[in-house]
Amino acid sequence: MLNEERIILMTHMASYEEHEGKKNVIVGNYFRSDYIGFQVLKSIISASIAFVIVFGMFIFYDFEAFMQDIYKMDLLAFAKNVLIAYFLMVGGYAVVTYIVYWIRYNKVKKSLKCYYSNLKKLSGIYEK
């Protein structure tokens, strides 16, 4: 005989598995530190590429003047400034990434907890 409660529960769970559940299960397989660390690493790479693009555009913007001044300027001071800008940008971006993914990981864990409790409930219904 059809058990209405069981069918509703199974439908909800199937819908979850079909949509956000897919990604959440993958996220849930990581430890918090591993997941956030991996995302921060990806962000550092992204931010580095973005920095290179922006820096390239900055140099190319006034390329002639830059080439004229390159022999006069203090290259070490220039490199130091560039590195400070790089670390500020990448560091800031990494911090934002850390916060965003920390929140996301907690949300995913909460939703997975709910999913697993539903799974337990379903198994309880079968055992009745």
Partner: protein
């Protein structure tokens, strides 16, 4: 209002019923419109303006993920800019890449906003974007709307200054500088980005408030803030915006946002309930606002296929004859039943013919015991019930439910007859 709600329910039902077909059609239309707009606004490469190419790409987008429409649109933009000048394409590519790397990595779902915002600008209703995203999005959506706005203004700058860019033939560095200046020193762009960001936040904050009609208040406040900021920006930086354009665009955007609200957040504030309770840890002050919803009138479309129902009767007829051959009385009854059934099937259709076959089944039961007279009495009832049933069906030919009940009564009675028949046999 009720009619609108019914229409909304119809649309919802229709969409949920045919979602599997409608979603690809929507994606196709979206990609097609986006590509047509891109070709119309920045059509420098004539080869990709060919309708066949647009159709093929839009068709591809219909079965690929939604983000692909944005990617293909970006490719179209870059190809057009490349036809104008390689530097333009390079700067646009770098701009898009930085946006994707820094923001859309976090929110890939918002990728579509990057394309929707420039489209809204072309359609002269850009003010819908901060309103809509404030209503259905999060504060982070301001980055998506901001990126879309920057992209639009950059493309618009190239479009307006294409003759100047073309005039700088071999001066790569000068061209590059000109483009970067156009991107950074665009006061109208900065004012618009700031206005959209503030509008979105205002709409979001008010929409989340626990006040009646918060959505409408948010829309009105957002529209006013947007208009005010754009006008102040115009006064401060001489952005040369059209005041009439802003006002008309804001009014149209407001109504579009209202339409969005109708589909997304439709509640009845007159039936608001406030309840208060407590548990061990908290006091709860709950405000519950019922959703506005109506049930769509159910229409049962009944297909009448006379030929088919006649076939059913024809099929049952020989059975009846075979059965009734055993007893004379049964013969009379069954013939009568079949006759009624065929009349019914000529009148009504499927359900009647089913009822008829049930009736015949009942007669069949009547004939089953064959030998004893008691079995007749047992079987006589089902037949009577069946005849009565068909009679009811004849009297009220239209209501389906009546016929169904009759049918089930006939079936049940036949079953009962069967049981009684077996009881008699046991005796």
């Amino acid at each position: 209002m009720t009619k609108l709600l019914v229409a909304r329910e119809y649309i919802k039902n229709f969409y949920s019923k045919y979602e599997i077909y409608l979603w690809p059609v929507c994606k196709f239309l979206f990609a097609f419109i986006a590509l047509i707009i891109i070709n119309g606004e920045i059509g420098y490469m004539h080869r990709i303006e060919n309708m066949a190419i647009v159709l093929v790409v839009a068709l591809m987008c219909s079965f690929l993920p939604m983000g692909c429409a944005v990617v293909f649109s970006g490719l179209f933009v870059l190809l057009h800019l490349y036809a104008l000048s390689m530097e333009c394409a390079l700067v646009a590519f770098m701009l898009m890449l930085v946006m994707v790397l820094l923001y859309f990595r976090f929110a890939p779902k918002d990728f579509i906003i990057l394309l929707l915002t420039p489209i809204a600008f072309v359609l002269k209703i850009p003010y819908i974007m901060p309103l809509a995203m404030g209503l259905v999005g999060t504060p982070a959506s301001l980055f998506s709307v901001g990126c879309g706005t920057i992209l639009y203004f950059f493309l618009n700058f190239i479009n307006e200054n294409n003759t100047t860019i073309n005039a700088m033939e071999d001066e790569i560095a000068a061209k590059f500088r000109y483009l970067i200046d156009g991107l950074i020193d665009n006061k109208a762009m900065l004012v618009t980005v700031a206005a959209f960001a503030v509008t979105l936040i205002v709409v979001y904050v008010i929409r989340r408030m626990s006040v009646d009609h918060s959505w409408t208040i948010a829309m009105v406040a957002g529209s006013l803030v947007n208009v005010m900021m754009l006008l102040i920006g115009d006064l401060m930086y001489d952005t040369k915006v059209s005041i009439v354009g802003i006002l008309i665009g804001s009014i149209v955007s407001f109504f579009l946002a209202k339409a969005l609200q109708f589909f997304v957040f439709s509640v009845d504030y007159s039936r608001t309930e406030r309840v208060q309770f407590e548990d061990d840890e908290y006091y709860y002050y709950v405000k519950a606002i019922p959703k506005l919803s109506v049930a769509t009138p159910a229409k049962t479309v009944k297909k009448i296929n006379t030929q088919k129902s006649q076939n059913v009767v024809t099929k049952t007829a020989p059975k009846t004859v075979n059965t009734v051959n055993n007893t004379g009385r049964a013969r009379t009854e069954t013939v009568h039943t079949t006759g009624t059934a065929s009349t019914a099937s000529r009148m009504g259709g499927g359900t009647y013919s089913t009822a008829a076959s049930h009736t015949t089944g009942a007669s069949h039961t009547t004939g089953a015991p064959r030998t004893t007279g008691t079995s007749y009495s047992a079987g006589a009832r089902p037949h009577t019930a069946a005849s009565r049933t068909v009679g009811t069906a004849q009297e009220s030919a239209r209501p389906v439910s009546t016929v169904r009940t009759a049918n089930s009564v006939a079936g049940r009675t036949a079953q009962r007859g069967d049981e009684r028949g077996s009881l008699n046999r046991d005796k």
